[in-house]
Symmetry: C2
Subunit: 157 residues, 2 copies
Amino acid sequence: MGFDIHPMTAGDKPQLMQLLAATPEFEPAEIPVAEEVIDAYLARPGVDYQVLVAEESLCILGYICFGQTPLTRSTWDIYWMAVAMERRGRGIGAALLRRAEDSIRRAGGTLVLIETSSKPNYLPTRRFYLKNGYKKSSRIVDFYAPGDHRITFEKRF
Amino acid sequence: MGFDIHPMTAGDKPQLMQLLAATPEFEPAEIPVAEEVIDAYLARPGVDYQVLVAEESLCILGYICFGQTPLTRSTWDIYWMAVAMERRGRGIGAALLRRAEDSIRRAGGTLVLIETSSKPNYLPTRRFYLKNGYKKSSRIVDFYAPGDHRITFEKRF
Protein backbone atom coordinates (compact mmCIF):
# COMPACT_ATOMS: atom_id res chain seq x y z
CA MET A 1 0.00 0.00 0.00
CA GLY A 2 2.86 2.38 0.78
CA PHE A 3 0.82 4.38 3.27
CA ASP A 4 -0.17 3.84 6.86
CA ILE A 5 -3.24 4.82 8.84
CA HIS A 6 -3.04 6.23 12.35
CA PRO A 7 -5.02 8.45 14.72
CA MET A 8 -4.58 12.12 13.87
CA THR A 9 -2.29 14.19 16.09
CA ALA A 10 -2.06 17.98 16.47
CA GLY A 11 1.02 18.04 14.24
CA ASP A 12 -1.03 16.68 11.32
CA LYS A 13 -3.44 19.61 11.39
CA PRO A 14 -1.69 22.15 9.12
CA GLN A 15 -1.27 19.62 6.31
CA LEU A 16 -4.78 18.27 6.77
CA MET A 17 -6.28 21.76 6.55
CA GLN A 18 -4.40 22.33 3.28
CA LEU A 19 -5.74 19.04 1.95
CA LEU A 20 -9.31 20.06 2.88
CA ALA A 21 -8.95 23.50 1.29
CA ALA A 22 -7.79 21.80 -1.93
CA THR A 23 -10.60 19.21 -1.97
CA PRO A 24 -12.87 20.26 -4.86
CA GLU A 25 -16.07 18.76 -3.39
CA PHE A 26 -15.93 20.99 -0.29
CA GLU A 27 -17.53 24.43 -0.39
CA PRO A 28 -15.50 27.19 1.30
CA ALA A 29 -18.14 27.44 4.06
CA GLU A 30 -17.58 23.81 4.97
CA ILE A 31 -13.90 24.20 5.85
CA PRO A 32 -14.37 26.09 9.15
CA VAL A 33 -17.00 23.53 10.19
CA ALA A 34 -14.65 20.65 9.39
CA GLU A 35 -11.96 22.49 11.37
CA GLU A 36 -14.23 22.91 14.40
CA VAL A 37 -14.77 19.16 14.45
CA ILE A 38 -11.03 18.50 14.10
CA ASP A 39 -10.35 20.88 17.00
CA ALA A 40 -13.01 19.16 19.12
CA TYR A 41 -11.30 15.84 18.36
CA LEU A 42 -7.83 17.19 19.22
CA ALA A 43 -9.14 18.68 22.49
CA ARG A 44 -10.80 15.41 23.57
CA PRO A 45 -9.74 12.58 21.24
CA GLY A 46 -12.29 9.79 21.07
CA VAL A 47 -14.93 11.50 23.20
CA ASP A 48 -17.25 12.86 20.50
CA TYR A 49 -15.07 12.20 17.46
CA GLN A 50 -12.34 9.95 16.18
CA VAL A 51 -10.07 11.03 13.34
CA LEU A 52 -7.76 8.76 11.36
CA VAL A 53 -5.28 9.98 8.75
CA ALA A 54 -3.54 8.12 5.94
CA GLU A 55 0.12 9.11 5.72
CA GLU A 56 3.01 8.28 3.43
CA SER A 57 6.52 9.64 3.86
CA LEU A 58 5.30 12.39 6.24
CA CYS A 59 2.65 13.42 3.75
CA ILE A 60 -1.08 13.35 4.73
CA LEU A 61 -3.03 11.64 1.93
CA GLY A 62 -6.53 11.59 3.41
CA TYR A 63 -8.62 11.47 6.54
CA ILE A 64 -11.83 10.13 8.03
CA CYS A 65 -13.77 11.55 10.99
CA PHE A 66 -16.42 9.49 12.77
CA GLY A 67 -18.13 9.11 16.11
CA GLN A 68 -21.02 7.55 17.95
CA THR A 69 -24.29 9.32 17.20
CA PRO A 70 -25.40 11.07 20.40
CA LEU A 71 -28.41 9.53 22.17
CA THR A 72 -28.28 6.29 20.22
CA ARG A 73 -27.45 2.83 21.54
CA SER A 74 -25.07 1.71 18.80
CA THR A 75 -25.37 4.01 15.77
CA TRP A 76 -22.28 5.73 14.41
CA ASP A 77 -21.81 8.55 11.92
CA ILE A 78 -19.04 8.98 9.40
CA TYR A 79 -18.99 12.78 9.56
CA TRP A 80 -16.20 13.75 7.17
CA MET A 81 -13.91 12.01 4.77
CA ALA A 82 -11.47 13.20 2.11
CA VAL A 83 -8.61 11.88 0.00
CA ALA A 84 -6.23 14.29 -1.76
CA MET A 85 -7.29 14.68 -5.39
CA GLU A 86 -3.95 13.53 -6.82
CA ARG A 87 -3.88 10.41 -4.58
CA ARG A 88 -7.29 9.02 -5.50
CA GLY A 89 -7.71 5.59 -7.09
CA ARG A 90 -5.12 3.88 -4.85
CA GLY A 91 -7.59 2.49 -2.31
CA ILE A 92 -6.78 5.06 0.36
CA GLY A 93 -10.44 5.94 0.96
CA ALA A 94 -11.46 2.28 1.16
CA ALA A 95 -8.62 1.60 3.63
CA LEU A 96 -9.65 4.56 5.81
CA LEU A 97 -13.28 3.45 5.74
CA ARG A 98 -12.35 -0.14 6.63
CA ARG A 99 -10.26 1.01 9.58
CA ALA A 100 -13.11 3.23 10.82
CA GLU A 101 -15.58 0.35 10.47
CA ASP A 102 -13.25 -2.01 12.36
CA SER A 103 -13.05 0.50 15.18
CA ILE A 104 -16.84 1.01 15.19
CA ARG A 105 -17.47 -2.75 15.24
CA ARG A 106 -15.01 -3.24 18.12
CA ALA A 107 -16.86 -0.50 20.06
CA GLY A 108 -20.15 -2.38 19.63
CA GLY A 109 -21.56 -0.29 16.77
CA THR A 110 -24.31 -1.95 14.71
CA LEU A 111 -25.31 0.79 12.27
CA VAL A 112 -23.09 3.22 10.33
CA LEU A 113 -24.59 6.25 8.59
CA ILE A 114 -23.04 8.59 6.05
CA GLU A 115 -24.86 11.67 4.78
CA THR A 116 -23.88 13.04 1.42
CA SER A 117 -25.06 15.30 -1.36
CA SER A 118 -26.99 14.43 -4.52
CA LYS A 119 -24.95 16.93 -6.56
CA PRO A 120 -23.35 15.62 -9.78
CA ASN A 121 -19.83 16.25 -8.46
CA TYR A 122 -20.58 13.84 -5.59
CA LEU A 123 -21.34 10.96 -7.99
CA PRO A 124 -17.90 9.35 -7.49
CA THR A 125 -18.41 9.70 -3.72
CA ARG A 126 -21.80 7.99 -3.87
CA ARG A 127 -20.40 5.20 -6.05
CA PHE A 128 -17.56 4.79 -3.57
CA TYR A 129 -20.01 4.16 -0.71
CA LEU A 130 -22.07 1.70 -2.77
CA LYS A 131 -18.91 -0.15 -3.80
CA ASN A 132 -17.90 -0.37 -0.14
CA GLY A 133 -21.11 -2.07 0.94
CA TYR A 134 -23.33 0.89 1.83
CA LYS A 135 -26.98 1.10 0.80
CA LYS A 136 -29.07 4.19 0.16
CA SER A 137 -31.17 4.51 3.29
CA SER A 138 -33.10 7.76 2.87
CA ARG A 139 -33.25 11.02 0.96
CA ILE A 140 -34.43 14.49 1.93
CA VAL A 141 -35.18 16.61 -1.11
CA ASP A 142 -33.66 20.14 -1.25
CA PHE A 143 -31.96 19.62 2.12
CA TYR A 144 -28.67 21.41 1.41
CA ALA A 145 -30.12 23.85 -1.13
CA PRO A 146 -32.75 23.81 -3.88
CA GLY A 147 -31.87 20.83 -6.10
CA ASP A 148 -29.21 19.58 -3.65
CA HIS A 149 -30.71 16.66 -1.74
CA ARG A 150 -29.30 14.85 1.27
CA ILE A 151 -28.71 11.14 0.67
CA THR A 152 -28.11 8.98 3.73
CA PHE A 153 -26.18 5.75 3.22
CA GLU A 154 -26.18 2.96 5.78
CA LYS A 155 -24.25 -0.19 6.60
CA ARG A 156 -25.34 -2.62 9.30
CA PHE A 157 -23.14 -5.02 11.28
CA MET B 1 -54.91 31.51 25.76
CA GLY B 2 -53.75 32.60 29.23
CA PHE B 3 -50.08 32.02 28.44
CA ASP B 4 -47.51 33.98 26.53
CA ILE B 5 -44.52 32.93 24.47
CA HIS B 6 -41.15 34.66 24.67
CA PRO B 7 -37.47 33.97 24.09
CA MET B 8 -35.96 32.01 26.97
CA THR B 9 -33.76 33.91 29.45
CA ALA B 10 -31.24 32.58 31.97
CA GLY B 11 -33.78 33.01 34.77
CA ASP B 12 -36.09 30.48 33.09
CA LYS B 13 -33.50 27.72 33.22
CA PRO B 14 -34.11 26.18 36.68
CA GLN B 15 -37.85 25.77 36.03
CA LEU B 16 -37.26 24.52 32.50
CA MET B 17 -34.82 21.87 33.71
CA GLN B 18 -37.42 20.66 36.24
CA LEU B 19 -39.99 20.47 33.46
CA LEU B 20 -37.60 18.42 31.29
CA ALA B 21 -36.75 16.05 34.14
CA ALA B 22 -40.49 15.46 34.66
CA THR B 23 -41.25 14.88 30.95
CA PRO B 24 -42.00 11.16 30.67
CA GLU B 25 -40.88 10.83 27.03
CA PHE B 26 -37.31 11.89 27.84
CA GLU B 27 -34.78 9.28 28.90
CA PRO B 28 -32.47 10.36 31.75
CA ALA B 29 -29.49 10.41 29.33
CA GLU B 30 -31.26 13.00 27.17
CA ILE B 31 -31.51 15.64 29.89
CA PRO B 32 -27.79 16.62 29.98
CA VAL B 33 -27.81 16.85 26.17
CA ALA B 34 -30.88 19.09 26.22
CA GLU B 35 -29.14 21.17 28.90
CA GLU B 36 -25.98 21.54 26.78
CA VAL B 37 -28.07 22.94 23.96
CA ILE B 38 -29.90 25.31 26.34
CA ASP B 39 -26.53 26.52 27.68
CA ALA B 40 -25.23 27.03 24.13
CA TYR B 41 -28.34 29.11 23.41
CA LEU B 42 -27.96 31.18 26.60
CA ALA B 43 -24.26 31.81 25.82
CA ARG B 44 -24.97 32.96 22.25
CA PRO B 45 -28.74 33.39 21.77
CA GLY B 46 -29.80 33.02 18.15
CA VAL B 47 -26.40 31.97 16.82
CA ASP B 48 -26.81 28.19 16.67
CA TYR B 49 -30.07 27.87 18.55
CA GLN B 50 -33.23 29.75 19.40
CA VAL B 51 -35.32 28.81 22.41
CA LEU B 52 -38.87 29.98 23.12
CA VAL B 53 -40.77 29.28 26.33
CA ALA B 54 -44.50 29.38 27.07
CA GLU B 55 -45.17 31.02 30.42
CA GLU B 56 -48.23 31.69 32.53
CA SER B 57 -48.14 33.54 35.87
CA LEU B 58 -44.34 33.06 36.15
CA CYS B 59 -44.71 29.35 35.49
CA ILE B 60 -42.91 27.72 32.51
CA LEU B 61 -45.40 25.48 30.66
CA GLY B 62 -43.29 24.34 27.74
CA TYR B 63 -40.45 25.12 25.38
CA ILE B 64 -39.21 24.72 21.84
CA CYS B 65 -35.60 24.79 20.62
CA PHE B 66 -34.76 25.25 16.94
CA GLY B 67 -32.03 26.53 14.65
CA GLN B 68 -30.78 26.65 11.11
CA THR B 69 -29.22 23.35 10.05
CA PRO B 70 -25.47 23.93 9.60
CA LEU B 71 -24.22 23.91 6.00
CA THR B 72 -27.68 24.21 4.47
CA ARG B 73 -29.09 27.15 2.51
CA SER B 74 -32.51 27.35 4.21
CA THR B 75 -33.20 24.18 6.19
CA TRP B 76 -34.07 24.42 9.87
CA ASP B 77 -34.30 21.82 12.61
CA ILE B 78 -36.70 21.69 15.52
CA TYR B 79 -34.27 20.10 17.97
CA TRP B 80 -36.26 19.83 21.18
CA MET B 81 -39.78 20.48 22.30
CA ALA B 82 -41.72 19.73 25.49
CA VAL B 83 -44.93 20.72 27.23
CA ALA B 84 -45.45 19.95 30.92
CA MET B 85 -47.53 16.77 31.28
CA GLU B 86 -50.29 18.41 33.31
CA ARG B 87 -50.63 21.31 30.80
CA ARG B 88 -51.10 19.27 27.65
CA GLY B 89 -54.24 19.55 25.51
CA ARG B 90 -54.47 23.36 25.75
CA GLY B 91 -52.72 24.13 22.45
CA ILE B 92 -49.44 25.18 24.07
CA GLY B 93 -47.34 22.92 21.83
CA ALA B 94 -49.15 24.08 18.68
CA ALA B 95 -48.64 27.72 19.71
CA LEU B 96 -44.91 27.16 20.35
CA LEU B 97 -44.54 25.38 17.01
CA ARG B 98 -46.40 28.15 15.16
CA ARG B 99 -44.18 30.83 16.73
CA ALA B 100 -41.04 28.88 15.79
CA GLU B 101 -42.31 28.44 12.22
CA ASP B 102 -43.09 32.16 11.95
CA SER B 103 -39.57 32.96 13.03
CA ILE B 104 -38.09 30.41 10.59
CA ARG B 105 -40.19 31.77 7.72
CA ARG B 106 -39.15 35.35 8.48
CA ALA B 107 -35.49 34.23 8.44
CA GLY B 108 -35.96 32.78 4.95
CA GLY B 109 -36.30 29.12 5.96
CA THR B 110 -37.96 26.85 3.38
CA LEU B 111 -37.74 23.41 5.00
CA VAL B 112 -38.33 22.43 8.64
CA LEU B 113 -37.27 19.00 9.92
CA ILE B 114 -38.16 17.25 13.17
CA GLU B 115 -36.62 13.92 14.13
CA THR B 116 -38.53 11.73 16.52
CA SER B 117 -38.79 8.17 17.79
CA SER B 118 -41.03 5.36 16.58
CA LYS B 119 -41.59 4.16 20.17
CA PRO B 120 -45.22 3.65 21.25
CA ASN B 121 -44.96 6.38 23.90
CA TYR B 122 -44.15 8.87 21.11
CA LEU B 123 -47.42 8.16 19.28
CA PRO B 124 -49.11 11.34 20.62
CA THR B 125 -46.00 13.30 19.56
CA ARG B 126 -46.10 11.89 16.02
CA ARG B 127 -49.85 12.61 15.79
CA PHE B 128 -49.17 16.15 16.99
CA TYR B 129 -46.73 16.77 14.12
CA LEU B 130 -49.11 15.28 11.53
CA LYS B 131 -51.97 17.43 12.89
CA ASN B 132 -49.74 20.49 12.60
CA GLY B 133 -49.04 19.99 8.91
CA TYR B 134 -45.87 17.85 8.99
CA LYS B 135 -45.39 14.85 6.73
CA LYS B 136 -43.28 11.75 7.34
CA SER B 137 -40.19 12.31 5.27
CA SER B 138 -37.89 9.40 6.07
CA ARG B 139 -37.23 6.60 8.51
CA ILE B 140 -34.03 4.91 9.66
CA VAL B 141 -34.71 1.52 11.21
CA ASP B 142 -33.12 0.77 14.62
CA PHE B 143 -31.49 4.22 14.71
CA TYR B 144 -31.92 4.97 18.42
CA ALA B 145 -31.83 1.34 19.54
CA PRO B 146 -33.03 -2.04 18.29
CA GLY B 147 -36.74 -1.56 17.52
CA ASP B 148 -36.56 2.20 18.06
CA HIS B 149 -36.51 3.83 14.62
CA ARG B 150 -35.85 7.47 13.78
CA ILE B 151 -38.76 9.14 11.97
CA THR B 152 -38.04 12.47 10.29
CA PHE B 153 -40.99 14.79 9.73
CA GLU B 154 -40.84 17.72 7.32
CA LYS B 155 -42.79 20.86 6.49
CA ARG B 156 -41.98 23.03 3.48
CA PHE B 157 -42.71 26.74 3.07
